[in-house]
């Protein structure tokens, strides 16, 4: 398990994520990311054939053929690690209880602390703790969930805490909208949807791989494979590297001065 954790957190491993944003040259109190920080959401470069229907939905069939990006930041094409399984309706208070919301995610040291509290609100029926006491990161880099993951509050601290704890991706049956949006906007975790209730078939500790281009979740422990839904409308935003990068790409806002 520890191998999986370290794999998920090193920049050299092909499935790792690096910070999607580079810190600007001027360091201010609100400067977010340590330049040596391990992870960020890599832009997924893909050839997308978008269905020419203006009412494209999150579930519409966008055929994404990922090509490998050999830019310095690399590109996420797969995630690999031990999974942590949760049930339906895991709300934001369970992901990060309100008492920890005094931590400001854009401050590096407080960002780190948020990771230590990720999923600390889960009831005692979850026997395995997500983050061990005294640790800042989890040994589980992939979360498998049921329906309506992330329901409740709009607090961005929720996907941030998961990302800070080392989560690379979540495979849920469905998401609450604000949480999904925040995941995409922050780039902290890659929010994927399964076709079936994978939370019923996977157990905490199973070693899994997510192949993005094949939209596949592979559980090595059970030997089963599951199709994932295409990312949908969020694809172009994720591709660009988040909402700011997306807006810059289209010329809506000026390029970041560095």
């Amino acid at each position: 398990m520890s191998t999986a954790a370290s794999l998920a957190n090193t920049t050299t491993f092909s499935s790792s994520l690096s910070r999607r944003q580079q810190a600007p040259a001027s360091i201010s109190t609100f400067n977010v990311f340590n330049s040596t920080a391990q992870r960020s959401f890599k832009p997924l470069i893909s050839q997308s054939i978008v269905v020419p229907n203006p009412t494209v939905s999150r579930h519409a069939s966008i055929v994404a053929q990922a090509t490998f990006d050999s830019s310095p930041s690399g590109s996420a094409t797969s995630f690999h690690g031990a999974c942590y399984v949760v049930r339906d309706n895991i709300d934001t208070d369970q992901i990060i209880p309100a008492e920890y919301l005094t931590l400001v995610p854009s401050k590096p040291d407080e960002y780190k602390k948020l990771g230590s509290y990720a999923l600390i609100g889960l009831p005692e029926s979850y026997e395995t703790r997500f983050v061990e006491p005294g640790e800042y990161q989890s040994k589980y880099s992939i979360i498998i969930a049921g329906d309506n993951f992330g329901c409740g509050s709009s607090r961005e601290h929720a996907p941030v805490a998961l990302g800070a704890a080392g989560v690379a991706a979540v495979v849920a049956e469905s998401y609450a909208r604000i949480f999904f949006r925040n995941s995409v906007a922050t780039g902290e975790i890659y929010p994927l949807e399964s076709e079936v209730r994978v939370c019923d078939e996977c157990k905490t500790g199973d070693v899994v791989t997510i192949e993005l281009e094949k939209s596949l979740l592979i559980n090595h422990t059970t030997g089963k494979e599951y199709t994932l839904k295409p990312i949908g409308d969020a694809g172009p935003v994720i591709e660009a590297g988040g909402i700011f990068a997306y807006a810059r790409k289209s010329g809506m806002i000026a390029a970041l001065a560095t």
Binding site: V32, T55, V56, S57, I253
Partner: protein, 539 residues
């Protein structure tokens, strides 16, 4: 539709067939929750035929709403022809649009759009508070530069309200951060608080953001209001599009005044019938959430119309829209009418233009509810959709009652609670915590006469009943908060609360058991020490 089938489907629903290949079947939800409507789809399916038939011969009897969860089978019944709606305000609309679609259309400057489209909208008001403000500001500065200015210093409303009356240093620091930013940017609407020991010593301080937004005239029909809080949907009561966003989106709006949003399809809820005097809007929304589940409205707009809605006050409409997020809803919305305009008079000088759904607007589904058949409800632990009647829970012993929050801490909520206590004349049997949402609410509790009391104020009635003294206005313990938050649940206790969520640990302790209820039900429960139907006191 057979008679037997009607008995099993107490709510009239008609659903739109879509061409979407990926119709998402939520096993909990009672409807096919597809997230897009193809513009070429046929509008109705019924068990009889696939064509449009507005004069489907359905008997117009009222069916008592079954309290059980609707099964996953969808039973489609054509509704009777809709009553006439006001004509579209924009005039340039060629095809039918819902009011939410019209707001998106205007805000994105697109003549036509359909649910599922992603559009850049112009934001009229952005709200943030002490919990999410600092993070949003951090992102704003990082992305736009340390010296960047917000897109419009009169359209950003900064309202400290969450963790105010606490000794937690980080919480106090967060209020300092938003103050510093407000001064630096010349933010016109920053409702500051400096003296934590006496909220009244802070003339600018308001309290709970969603109530303050309404009271200060920031909610206007037809506009787009975004806030870094899930209950921003409360403002939909004013006939506007209002929804919650995260820090990153807020940082983006701060710099550009725009947001990338997907046009939601609309679920329509038609509530008719005279509101019984033991029911409040909280009961209505608990009824609906229990019906469609906590994910029944995900990515959708929830539009509330009907004679009952028209009879509701603004505060009651706010309660209704407040909890749409608990059904996963993107926004809640109530058409603006005379009640709205009267409320807004003298509160805002910004001109506004209401919009209304067209007669031929397309809804994903329509639910009709006869409110005269409903009972006072609770949402049992640990989910807002865990619906039961208060009566069914009469054997549940409770440890405390909490009356407060944007959901149930407004002036009318306290008047309602006082009404029940007055009717009883007895003292409460459990600690009863009163947390006014804003300074104004606090003032009202101490000054407004309670009808039928011979001129007594709420505060006098509360005191006579042995409730705790109304505390400093803020979000309080609705979401737990720092450990020293007043009325926080710090032990595994049972609480009846007028708040909005009851997931594990919501008000503090992981094993706290929270029953969500209306102010009537909360007050009745305080009087008996058990979950109690307010009819025990009000009739």
């Amino acid at each position: 539709m057979t008679q037997a089938a009607i008995q099993h489907s107490p709510i009239y629903i008609h659903t739109y067939q879509t061409h979407n290949d990926h119709v998402h079947h939520n096993p909990i939800s009672s409807m096919a929750a597809s997230s897009a409507i193809s513009s070429s789809s046929s509008p109705f399916i019924t068990q009889k035929d696939a064509g449009v038939s507005p004069l489907f011969a359905h008997p117009s009897k009222s069916i008592k709403i079954c309290q059980k969860k609707v099964s996953t089978k969808i039973v489609s019944v054509m509704t009777p022809q809709q009553s006439e709606r006001k004509p579209s305000a924009t005039g340039s609309v060629k095809t039918g649009m819902t009011m939410t679609e019209k707001i998106f259309s205007r805000a994105s400057e697109k003549l036509r759009l359909s649910p599922g489209e992603n559009v850049w909208v112009n934001v009229d008001v952005l709200m943030t508070h002490d919990v999410c403000g600092p993070g949003s500001i951090g992102i704003f500065k990082k992305e736009f530069g340390n010296d960047a200015k917000v897109w419009d210093r009169e359209k950003v409303v900064i309202i400290p309200d969450h963790y105010i009356f606490t000794t937690d240093e980080r919480a106090n620091r967060n209020v300092d951060i938003i103050r510093e930013f407000s001064h630096e940017q010349g933010i016109k609407y920053f409702y500051d608080i400096k003296d934590l020991s006496n909220f009244k010593a802070n003339p600018d301080y308001k309290g709970v953001c969603h109530v303050a937004l309404a009271q200060e005239g920031h909610c206007r029909p037809g506009e787009v209001l975004l806030g870094t809080d899930s209950h921003t949907c409360t403002a939909g009561a004013f006939g506007q599009f209002a929804t919650g966003i995260g820090n990153t989106d807020a940082g983006f709006v701060l710099g550009t005044g725009k947001a990338l949003l997907k046009v939601p399809p609309t679920l329509r809820f038609v509530l008719d019938g005279e509101m019984p005097d033991y029911l409040l809007a909280k009961d209505l929304i608990l009824q609906i959430i229990g019906e469609i589940s906590v994910s029944g409205a995900t990515y959708k707009a929830m539009e509330f119309v009907g004679s009952t809605i028209e009879s509701l006050t603004m505060e009651e409409r706010m309660t209704l829209c407040n909890m749409v997020v608990e059904a996963g809803g993107k926004n809640g919305i109530v058409p603006a009418d005379a009640t709205t305009f009267k409320y807004l008079k003298n509160k805002t000088s910004v001109p506004y233009e209401p919009v209304y759904s067209d007669d031929q607007a397309r809804f994903l589904a329509e639910y009709r509810i006869d409110v005269s058949k409903l009972d006072p409800l609770v949402a049992k632990p640990h989910s807002p959709d865990n619906r039961a009647s208060a009566r069914e829970c009469k054997d549940v012993k409770i440890d405390r009652v909490y009356i407060g929050s944007c959901t149930g801490g407004k002036t009318e909520d306290f008047l309602a609670a006082a009404k029940v206590l007055l009717a009883s004349g007895e003292k409460v049997k459990v600690p009863t915590f009163l947390v006014p949402a804003t300074q104004k609410v606090w003032m009202d509790i101490y000054t407004l006469p309670v009808p039928g009391s011979g001129g007594k104020t709420c505060s006098q009635i509360f005191e006579a009943a042995g409730c705790d003294t109304p505390t400093s206005p803020s979000c309080g313990a609705c979401l737990g908060g720092p450990k020293d938050t007043y009325a926080r649940i710090n032990e595994p206790q049972v609480c009846v609360s007028t708040t909005n969520r009851n997931f594990p640990g919501r008000m503090g302790h992981k094993d706290g058991q929270i029953y969500l209820a209306s102010p009537y039900t909360a007050a009745a429960s305080a009087l008996t020490g058990f979950v109690t139907d307010p009819r025990d006191f009000l009739r």
